[in-house]
Symmetry: C2
Subunit: 219 residues, 2 copies
DNA sequence: TAAAGTCTGTTGAATTTTCAACAAAAGGAG
DNA sequence: CTCCTTTTGTTGAAAATTCAACAGACTTTA
């Protein structure tokens, strides 16, 4: 498990918890490692939400399908991030979303009840971890609000610009890669793919942005 | 403060905490009561997010304005609910939204740092409260996901139906009042008001729903 | 390297949404 | 009760989005 310490140290759940305690905690949490190939479903919509995940490597997406099979991408997941924790912590819920591997993934599955209730060993790091988990959820909350702000825009153009502005703010740079291809970006922004492509071309012609594939520059 | 016990008992933050401990806790939290008239801003977008609120009476809305002043309603707040807690718990944030009184309101303002850090009295109910707060945030998270699902629909018609289905599920009844007037519903669903009215009329003509003002029936 | 498959940009037509303006209905104030 | 204000429904025109179809660019696989 030691090979994952680099990632786990960056995971907000273990903030200010030292390596020496990590191993004990992981077993205490009943954490187990799992692998998923590209396109595989890590968590399936509708299944019980007892476990949450920590992405160790690869990348994943949180998605939802409506009655007609239209895909909507809620967010991407990068290594070190938690996923599904809100559903696990709310209790008595089934998952309203799926989590799908975007490329081969390694994940750590954690039983949420082990986090929420102090372990029988009475280890004192639980308190820290619960605090960390709370802050993580607060931040996730804010992230979802951001998405609401982006997809709440009325036009495709405004959605694109709001998304790019958000990425600029998050990376601190006017030049960055986005984690989506065109279809995925469309599914994230809740717009039509061809309309999205057309609008991106227009923004390029107007000299507002530049991009090549998934690399964008704000001018 | 005793007159508010009825409401506070329903507040998720105080789940399983008995009345006798409540008074001590409230002072321990540095909670203070405040009143706001209709249309008054309880929390302003951009201001520091140190306090969160508990609505004691009245009703409020969490809203956001974009550059052009377009209003977007993120959610409504009813008595007993917390608001602003995610922003306060994420730390180092300013509010990305405003909270506005929809009618005369009484609120309890709570200093988030008092909740997150065990009080000097070392009262044991903090643990329970932190647990409650975490579950509250997890649920809020899920609520925002629901909103994302509703507003993520591509057409006005689908948004209306998704919203009404959500209300039906939440109330458990096919007949209910919605907490919005037409303009507010439009701002919540992120659509044009006149288009919304037109679509509601159409749904009525088609015999899919019935409504009078803000009372809706799913047929 | 060639072939097959996927992703992206373009286009035009059909559909929808937005916008602006107005009139009817409902609610509130005096 | 009447006047005034706010809310709601309707309409038509303008603008934007979606849809379907296709061609070229890029990837992957055999």
């Amino acid at each position: 498990m030691k090979k994952y310490f680099g990632i786990l140290r960056k995971c907000s759940l273990f903030d200010q918890i030292e390596d020496q305690h990590l191993i004990a905690m992981l077993s205490c949490l009943g954490a187990r490692r799992a692998e998923f190939d590209k396109k595989y479903t890590i968590f399936a919509e509708g299944s019980p939400a007892r476990y949450f995940g920590i992405l160790l490597s690869g990348s994943a997406q949180i998605i939802r399908h409506d009655y007609y099979g239209n895909r909507s991408i809620v967010s991407g997941v990068v290594p070190g991030e938690l996923f599904g924790e809100a559903f696990a912590c709310a209790g008595e819920q089934t998952l309203p979303v799926s989590v799908v591997a975007n490329e081969p993934c390694e994940v750590l599955l954690v039983d949420s009840t082990h986090v929420l209730h102090t372990c029988s060993n009475g280890c004192e790091f639980h308190r820290r971890m619960i605090y960390n988990l709370m802050r993580d959820m607060a931040r996730k909350n804010i992230m979802v609000y951001s998405k609401l702000e982006i997809t709440g825009k009325r036009s495709t153009r405004e959605k694109i610009l709001a998304y790019l502005a958000h990425m600029e703010q998050q990376t601190g740079k006017a030049e960055f890669d986005i984690p989506f291809d065109r279809q995925e970006l469309a599914d994230y922004l809740e717009v039509d793919r061809s309309g999205l492509s057309a609008e991106i071309s227009k923004l390029k012609r107007e000299g507002i942005i530049d991009c090549r594939k998934n690399h964008f520059v704000l001018l």
